[in-house]
């Protein structure tokens, strides 16, 4: 049974468990015709009773002296009026919550009779000695049932020989499943964990983390360096259509400035920072690219090489002039099938060879493409070993015996990590020519 069939079967079972109320359509249309307003009488009464009970309980507690003033705990920023136009720069009165102490740890999840399971969500090497892993721990209640994810970070400062104990990010409550998708450090001290909302930041090398959310924006990707930290955000509430925006920070994410509003319909999936002030924003669908080389003052739109139905686009560059772009098959295929290379910043493109990656895979999965230097690239997919090229795609060489990787990240032109599908971090210190697993892994110490 395919993954799509699994999803379909799930909803069919849900339909059996929650059958359609008899005559729903006719009743709804009839109600509309009579112009009934508000919820049905039964829920109105339930809401009224609940409100009366709440008032009674609060009154009783106040009388007993149980409620006293407590310091307001640190928490998310007050939400802005999302209907008002977004400012180009953030008002001075609303910087990101840097310096705020980490909120008091939340109570531990209810002890479970089933041992928690760890998984590595994403990794980010900072240099050849230091790197980070975003971990997810899922705890299941006794007797079965849905698990609850909690997110932690772990770090190494000796090239993976040892790892810190996983540290729970304060304020990232159990069940906030969308928040722990990505980890990105721009240098040894400044990093982010984000997914949907909220976004968490550290400015002291991971000792403390604080909620750095701005309004209810969704952070799609963050990339860059100490001096040039980029983010692409969806700056509107869910259900509101608006263009994505590129924001720039010159102080490692403490303050952001909007630098570019992406074209309408452009759906960003990836950021690639290069040089000083350079950025490529990769879009889905046809793989259009938005590129700046001057810190966001000017932007160039580069039409992509993929078809409108492409499942997944990947791009890479080391200098903003040599651009790599892979296109998968038509959606829902997600494996890279074709490779294009430009030597002139996207003015012209030429096809290049790509290792065979196997049959169509209709389940979304990880894959990665990275170019540490001109003419060089590393490709990983869930179906192949690590493959690299040192001659601009003319020849590719499989360089690991292990097969199946979710992503590859270069910290320097020579040092990178690749995350295998079993959660093992592999490292290279020669631009991808040879790979070995780290001596220790974040989930085992």
């Amino acid at each position: 049974m395919s993954f799509k069939d699994d999803i379909r079967s799930y909803y069919e079972r849900e339909a059996e468990r929650v059958p359609m109320p008899y005559g729903l359509r006719s009743q709804v249309v009839e109600d509309v015709a009579r112009k009934r307003i508000g919820p049905r009488r039964s829920t109105q009464w339930a809401a009224a009773v609940a409100a009366l009970l709440a008032v009674a309980i609060v009154a009783g507690l106040l009388a007993a002296g149980a409620l006293r003033h407590r310091p307001t705990p640190a928490g998310p920023l007050p939400k802005a009026n999302l209907q008002s136009p977004l400012p180009t720069t953030f008002p001075s009165g609303s910087p990101l919550q840097s310096g705020k102490s980490t909120p008091a740890p939340l109570p531990s999840p209810t002890p479970s009779s089933i041992a928690p399971s760890w998984s590595v969500v994403e990794v980010d090497p900072v240099d050849s000695q230091r790197g980070w892993a975003l971990l997810q721990e899922v705890t299941f209640p006794p007797g079965g049932g849905a698990g609850t994810p909690t997110f932690f970070v772990a770090s190494t400062s000796d090239g993976g020989a040892t790892w810190s104990s996983p540290k729970r990010i304060g304020g990232l409550a159990p069940g906030q499943g969308n928040s722990g998708e990505h980890i990105q450090f721009v240098d040894r001290n400044n990093g982010f964990v984000y997914g949907s909302t909220p976004i968490f930041a550290t400015h002291d090398g991971g000792h403390t983390w604080s909620d750095a959310s701005v309004y209810e924006w969704e952070y799609i990707a963050i990339a860059g360096t100490t001096a040039w930290t980029w983010a692409v955000v969806y700056p509107c509430a869910k259900g509101t259509v608006c263009p994505y925006e590129v924001h720039l920070s010159r102080d490692q994410g403490r303050h952001w400035t909007q630098t570019w509003m992406l074209p309408g319909g452009f759906s960003p999936t990836q950021l690639i920072a290069f040089g000083a002030g350079g950025l490529v924003v990769v879009g889905s669908n046809t793989g259009d690219l938005e590129l700046t080389s001057d810190g966001g003052h000017t932007w160039k739109t580069i039409p992509g090489r993929c078809s409108a139905n492409t499942g997944k686009v990947m791009a890479a560059t080391s200098n903003g002039t040599e651009l790599w772009e892979t296109c998968s098959g038509d959606f829902p295929d997600f494996l890279p099938r074709t490779l294009y290379l430009s030597e002139d910043g996207g003015v012209s493109w030429a096809g290049a060879s790509l290792p065979a990656v196997g049959a169509v895979q209709t389940t979304p999965m990880g894959s990665g493409l990275s170019s540490p230097s001109s003419g060089e690239a590393v490709l990983v997919t869930i179906a192949t070993p690590v493959e690299n090229t040192f001659d601009a795609g003319t020849t590719w060489l499989a360089v690991t015996s292990a097969v199946g990787f979710d992503g590859v990240v270069f910290a320097t032109p020579r040092y990178a990590w690749a995350l295998s599908t079993d959660g093992t971090i592999w490292a290279t210190s020669d631009s991808g020519a040879a790979w070995t697993p780290l001596a220790a892994q974040p989930t085992t110490g």
């Binding site: 993954f3 909803y11 359509r25 499943g177 869910k238 959606f331």
Partner: protein, 169 residues
Amino acid sequence: MPLTARAEAPTRAFDELIGPWIEPGFRLAVTMLGDPEEARDAVQDAALAAWRSLHRLQEPAHARAWFFSIVANRCRSIARRHWWTRGRNPLIAETTAGPAESADRSIDIERGMSRLEPDDRAALLLRFYLDLTVEEVGRALGVSAGAARSRIYRAAGRLRQSLDEDELR
């Protein structure tokens, strides 16, 4: 019949235009809210809102996605009132008896789905159960087609990650 006339037409015309989407809209509301009673209220409210704003429907062929967008917005409003249940789907079912392997996989899907946000579950339902095109999913969720595709991809990716974790237990 011109849209203006349809907006003032009797109940039958409204039923012809929106009626076919009320039951699928209920399915969407159940997926987003996890509560059949609230889902029914959401669909009822959405139908009334659709009646009142029928003049905004530019193209009758888009009625399905348009109505689903109203249902989704209504569900989000209801969910915001019930923030303490955010992210949890109370409809965690027991899988009916079947072959051991399919039962295990069904349990994994149930668990994975319960961890998804309501909008992610909605995207998967719209695309893979109600068979909307990606463009229609975008209209229903109030985003561009590209953003809808990304959302479907990410939602399925999160589900897949959950499945892989369950398989490793």
